[in-house]
């Protein structure tokens, strides 16, 4: 089973306690009515879906209940970094150093 380090619990916890929350760092336009339809659709529906390192939101739903962000390699399913919600995305390439 995948072990996910929760930044709020400070320990590795089994995957079953978590829910994936989709791509991270997507911010809602501050003034939606001023945004063009194309940009609004981009915000609502389009995700990067990369092959490789991806920033994702996860929620420790059956644990501390908190949302946090991770950098996960979508090829190897390896968690490269975890960080609290609101913190900036750490530089990529720090494999295994901040997990």
């Amino acid at each position: 089973m995948l072990l996910i380090p929760c930044p709020y619990c400070g320990m590795e916890r089994p995957e079953l306690e978590f829910r994936n929350g989709g791509e991270a760092h997507i911010s809602r336009p501050l003034d939606p009515s001023a945004v063009s339809d194309a940009d609004w659709a981009e915000y609502l529906y389009f995700r990067s879906n990369p092959k490789g390192v991806m920033a994702e939101r996860w929620r420790h739903v059956s644990g501390c209940g908190r949302f946090f962000n991770v950098l996960r390699d979508t090829v190897s399913d390896k968690f490269l970094a975890v960080y609290r919600a609101g913190e900036p995305r750490p530089p990529i390439g720090a494999e295994g150093s901040s997990a």
Binding site: P14, E17, G63, C64, G65, R66
Partner: protein, 189 residues
């Protein structure tokens, strides 16, 4: 608010709970339960009013006499006060917290406590709970919210071979049956 005119009935009253030295299940005594949420100031004030320290981090649960505060999240705790009246205890805590933003929710009737004990207790729990329950990873006193199969539980280790499990009422018969079945085939140690 719980209705005082409605008698509290155990969801386990018609079930035969396993008993014996090897593995035993028992319902914990009636208790007032709250879910408390708040910041650092509220945590300190609630610790004083409740009588048991609300732990600041995951790990040790705060326990004093018959009151326990379990860490659920960075700003969330489960308060268990055995034998206490939830209405008066709730009012007491609220009175001490007038100046601190917080949320105090009475969940006394939402869940029950189950004492799982015996040499195969950890093994039986491991049948459904994915946490590492070895003493080195989950020491005595540690408490956390987790899952048992599909049921969300709060797991609190009271001793090397004893666990306190908080489970929602409607999941309790299922949990009892699953644990009893798991214990039947579990090797000791």
């Amino acid at each position: 608010m719980p209705d005082a005119a409605v008698a509290l009935r155990s969801p386990l009253e018609r079930l035969a709970l396993p008993a014996g030295d090897r593995f035993a299940l028992a319902e914990t005594p009636p208790a007032a339960r709250f879910v408390f949420r708040g910041g650092e100031a509220a945590r300190a004030a609630c610790s004083a009013a409740f009588g048991a320290e609300l732990p600041a981090r995951l790990g040790l649960g705060g326990e004093r006499e018959r009151r326990a505060a379990l860490w659920l999240g960075p700003d969330e705790w489960l308060l268990i006060a055995e034998g206490a009246d939830s209405a008066s205890l709730g009012a007491e805590i609220e009175a001490a917290l007038v100046s601190a933003p917080h949320s105090l929710v009475d969940v006394s009737h939402r869940q029950i406590g189950l004492l799982v004990s015996g040499p195969v207790a950890a093994r039986a729990l491991s049948a459904g709970c994915p946490l590492d329950l070895h003493l080195s990873a989950f020491p005595v006193g540690m408490a956390t919210r987790t899952i048992f199969d599909k049921a969300e539980i709060a797991l609190w280790r009271r001793g090397a071979t004893a666990f306190h499990v908080e489970v929602w009422r409607s999941f309790a018969p299922y949990l009892v049956a699953a644990l009893a079945e798991a214990a039947r085939g579990a090797p000791e140690g």
